[in-house]
């Protein structure tokens, strides 16, 4: 497990183990069921996003990210969420690089993901709330490139894979039932990219989004 993943897991376990008082949360400010919508940008750090031909040139560059979730209250400080999102990757770096080498190509790549997330609410102060999230994620990648008059599906980036997802969300209550949100997540999928000759790379995506949450 990566250092980031270990840190997230430790934080998550400590949060679950901590008493409500330590979390600055009272029964009146307990976690509530809600529906959330969000949009933003997803970064794609790491080698996985790079072209195999030219390191540092991204095939899967960062792009717009959208998502939504529905979460159900499990306890005063814990919710369970069904979360889904869609990210469009930017292949223009790779297109420009290939063009500079005399090859014309176009890239289309995206990723849909769905996750089941446990969300401990770690801090509540007035109308400000903070919560973490962690859980398994399933990723449905899709990509293709058109080169030399032929369209090739990205076989190395086209298989459903499982991984983990974690994150943190800040919520600012606008009224009793609506909150504005800022959220940062990390999606880690081992072997998210796997070439036919055996080489595999770990997919990492970092969506940062703003959104709105409706409590019910």
């Amino acid at each position: 497990m990566s250092n980031t993943g270990t840190l997230m897991l430790l934080t998550f376990v400590c949060t679950l183990a901590a008493p409500p008082g330590l979390l600055g949360q009272t029964d009146n400010e307990s976690a509530r069921s809600s529906v959330g919508l969000r949009g933003g940008y997803a970064w794609t750090p790491g080698e996985w996003a790079d072209s195999r031909v030219a390191q540092g040139v991204a095939i899967f560059g960062g792009g717009l990210s959208f998502g939504g979730d529905i979460e159900f209250r499990l306890s005063t400080k814990l919710t369970l969420a069904l979360d889904g999102g869609y990210t469009i990757f930017d292949g223009s770096d790779w297109e420009a690089y290939a063009e500079s080498k005399g090859d014309h190509l176009s890239v289309t790549a995206s990723m849909f993901y769905a996750a089941v997330l446990l969300r401990p609410h770690v801090k509540v102060t007035g109308s400000d709330r903070l919560r973490l999230e962690l859980g398994p994620v399933v990723v449905f990648p899709d990509g293709k490139e058109t080169f030399g008059g032929k369209t090739y599906a990205y076989d190395f980036y086209g298989t459903t894979r499982f991984g983990g997802m974690g994150g943190i969300e800040y919520q600012r209550l606008l009224n009793e039932d609506i909150a504005a949100t800022v959220r940062a997540s990390v999606i880690i999928v081992p072997s998210g990219v796997k070439y036919a000759d055996g080489e595999s790379r770990t997919l990492i995506a970092l969506p940062v989004t703003i959104g709105i949450r409706f409590f019910f």
Binding site: R52, A153, Y195, A196, D197, G198
Partner: protein
């Protein structure tokens, strides 16, 4: 007289509609009996191996299945039907300041092997012979070298 939907004349012969049903039933029975053999026949698979012996990355297409950015010195293995033609096409991947492509067609070579056995009982006075047949398919591979690649 009507028996299970098949109309039969007094003398026992079938009417036209009865014969149609009878033929359909025969065809269905044969299909059910032969189905396992049909499956095993068409499912005999083999591996096609492609070795990239060029110093460049390749886009490889084997019977319409594409494998992209195959590294120099790397190997791709694709399961293919042992009864059909294998068409492999390779192209230099983009971004490498080189262009070229090559296509090869392969026909799997099957070897049918028939094995005969003779089983005797009662001190050789009562013998029975039987035969069984099987087939093997030679593996197919293509080592792609720069010489294979027609530049354009």
């Amino acid at each position: 007289m009507r028996i299970r939907g098949v109309q039969r004349r007094r003398g026992g012969s079938l009417t036209r509609s009865g014969r149609g049903v009878s033929r359909l039933a025969t065809a269905l029975t044969m299909a059910i009996v032969l189905w396992p053999y049909a499956i095993s026949f068409s499912d005999q698979e083999m591996n096609f191996t492609l070795i990239n012996q060029t110093p460049y990355y390749l886009h490889v297409t084997i019977n319409n299945d594409s494998h992209l950015y195959i590294g120099p010195g790397r190997v791709v293995t694709e399961p293919v039907s042992g009864y059909g033609t294998v068409i492999a096409e390779v192209t230099y991947s983009p971004g490498q300041v080189i262009s070229g492509t090559a296509t090869k067609t392969f026909q799997p070579v099957r070897h049918d092997v028939t094995t005969g056995t003779n089983t005797c009982t009662d001190s050789g006075s009562n013998c029975q012979s039987s035969t069984s047949s099987s087939s093997t398919i030679d593996p197919i591979s293509w080592t792609v070298t720069p010489a294979d690649m027609a530049t354009h």
